[in-house]
Symmetry: C2
Subunit: 406 residues, 2 copies
């Protein structure tokens, strides 16, 4: 029931990246819930992670290893268990699984980044995972991205992946990404789990910059329920297998590759919202006329997180008074309601703080019956703007989350 979202039919392989999935019975048996990714020597990796103070054990390890190690050679991802709020034991278990990867691939454990997603507060089944790692290590192949997208799903209904090719002076470059996440989605650095790889060659600094810029307007601009996960991780991988020297930031080729990476991140981030738990609507919030981007984002998130707005969107009820309420509660200092205007797609509903004289209820209802639409909010106090994507709050959201563990 994802909103205008189909599973990707194929994903392009990225030279220098090999993947394999395996069944580790982490939450329950019967599905491939573990993904192993091997990266060729010379690959650059950059990552951004949750700002949640209960950052999961794998997030803590990722941060430390990315600080210490230039040469990341493998990623290990599991679904079904978040390994968060698990204390020192959780850290030890995460380390043990990366040691198993290191042993299987003949690399250093410090070169392995672990990622977990699932229930918080339970310990990883290390033995079953290590056995699965051994099996996966023998089956690595370039063409397993789609299987990987499946393996990392939790309550996702659709696997999320996206590929692009872009022409550069040194030939074609590929960008492929996969992501998962449909609830506990309000990334404060990146979303639950997203992995984007390219065979372009990028320096460590350029890769970090590229990731930071792509994430700001993609994963960091979507929300399902306002809850920031303990496990948010987004990783950008550049294998450099396309050859040539590293792309210089500012150069035409860098811009072309960075633009495609940003596109892939945006498509994955939007896929997460389209598949948001119980979502029946995909809504773009466009806030303009703000004094700063931060202010515009603050208003957009106040609207996107309001349960009263979200239930009205679910009902297809053009109860725009709730939009006014949410804008007004955003805490923008000195916001003058008499300068605020609101539109639903091209229908103006609120003009400078009062109902638009020409607005008729049927017009608003017609827009809100669409599976996708834009809510435009003009604050009338500056020139900054921001876009945020979100979904509605339906019966199924409550159902899914009331029954998550049962």
């Amino acid at each position: 029931v994802a909103v205008n979202l189909a599973a990707p039919e194929t994903l392009l392989s990225v030279p220098g990246v090999r993947l394999a999935v395996a069944e580790a019975a982490i939450k329950k048996p019967g599905r491939k819930d573990l993904l192993l990714v091997e990266l060729a020597e010379g690959t650059q990796v950059a990552g951004v992670f949750t700002k949640n103070a209960f950052a999961a054990a794998p997030v803590q390890l990722c941060r430390a290893r990315l600080r210490r190690t230039a040469a990341i050679r493998a990623l290990l991802v599991n679904a079904g268990n978040a390994n968060a709020a698990t204390g020192a034991d959780g850290l030890a278990r995460a380390r043990a699984t990366t040691a198993a990867v290191a042993g299987a691939l003949g690399i250093d454990a410090e070169a392995v980044l672990p990622f977990s997603t699932g229930v918080i507060g339970q310990q990883l089944p290390v033995e079953r995972m290590n056995a699965a790692i051994g099996r996966a290590a023998g089956r690595l192949e370039a063409d397993a991205w789609l299987a990987g997208a499946h393996a990392i799903m939790t309550t996702d209904t659709v696997p999320k992946g996206c590929s692009r090719r872009v022409r550069t002076a040194r030939g074609e470059v590929t960008v492929t990404g996969i992501a998962k996440g449909v609830g506990m989605i309000c990334p404060d650095m990146a979303t639950m789990l997203a992995f984007v790889a390219t065979d372009a060659r990028l320096s460590a600094a350029a890769l970090k910059r590229c990731l930071r810029e792509a994430v700001a307007t993609s994963f960091n601009s979507v929300t399902v329920d306002g809850d920031t996960s303990t496990n948010d991780s987004c990783v950008l991988i550049a294998t450099g297998q396309a050859g040539g020297p590293a792309l210089a930031p500012g150069s035409r080729d860098y811009k072309a590759v960075a633009a495609v990476i940003a596109e892939v991140c945006l498509e994955l981030a939007q896929a997460i919202v389209r598949d948001g738990e119980g979502a029946t609507r995909f809504v773009t919030l466009e806030v303009s006329g703000a004094r700063s981007v931060a202010e515009a984002r603050r208003v957009a998130y106040a609207v996107a997180h309001s349960p009263l707005v979200k239930t009205a969107l679910f009902a297809g009820d053009a109860n725009w008074g709730r939009l006014a309420m949410a804008i007004g509660k955003a805490g923008v200092p000195g916001l003058d309601a008499r300068r605020v205007s609101v539109s639903l797609d091209d229908v103006r509903v609120l003009a400078r703080g009062a109902p638009h004289p020409a607005y008729r209820e049927e017009q608003g209802a017609a827009v809100l019956a669409r599976p996708e639409y834009t809510i435009g909010i003009e604050l009338g106090r500056g020139r900054a703007r921001a876009r945020v994507w979100t979904c509605d709050l339906s019966h199924d959201y409550v159902k899914i989350n009331a029954e998550y563990r049962t």
Copy 2:
């Protein structure tokens, strides 16, 4: 289906206060949806109001009149229409209804405070309201508090009211309050509508202080859905009919009366949560070990507003990992997860950032099956604490708010 909340059987009259209700067919016909309150000469009135930038027209009028006028003589309250986001026309209509009250009671329009609650963005039906005001003015009586509590309800399932008597050096003093509100509840000054009256004599300054202190730990410490209404108003009335000089702040009598006023405010505020839209659980959040009260409140509200926490509470699922997530996302600078502990009533679940060794799932489930319980959160970084009351997020919350206008 309110949680442990019955309708009050009687409410004590307050000398100096007379009330009447009438049918104005504001949203639809068939119920008494208008309340008129007359206050004796010499009454002191203090009010606190929403911080929402889309503050309703009646809130704007209340603020202006309380600034200008020492002698408030009447309150006019309507349900079914919030008169918010209605522009200049909305202000004119609110003024017109208070002029009708002034005419009917032979007082100045500036001495009338208007209050509205209901749908946002629609204009008041002034003619029908003014006719109802005329009828109500002929029927004022001291003993109509319960009828008043009924009249101001919107989606409330139970009328909310509370009375107390307290002995002072000059004899008994009465405090009676009524309130309404079950959704769009995250008061940033006071809740939807609450009116508390006493016949004690208090100076204007003492009354303001008394209100401010009572509201901080009652109406400003509850949340249903995190949405701050455009119409929040809390009014404290002291008619002085108990006689004697004004109670001096700091005196024994002042403290006794202030304590009872705070009790009435807390009982009304908790009644709002117990009757929260779709609520099946009444939950006290006790955060301790914070560096400041603001920090403790920030954590409490992060938990209280998390849809994932709220749906787990609805399910009675002791998925305490979601509590860790919400504490972690609260944005407390430098919060160390390894010092955070969490309990459910007397059951310790998280001890210094990791699962408590003795915790068993059945213990947590037993607590969460209760209609009322306390979630204790110890941050381990200071001595400040705060309490916040909230409810769960159920199927009925979505149902009520998806169908509100239909």
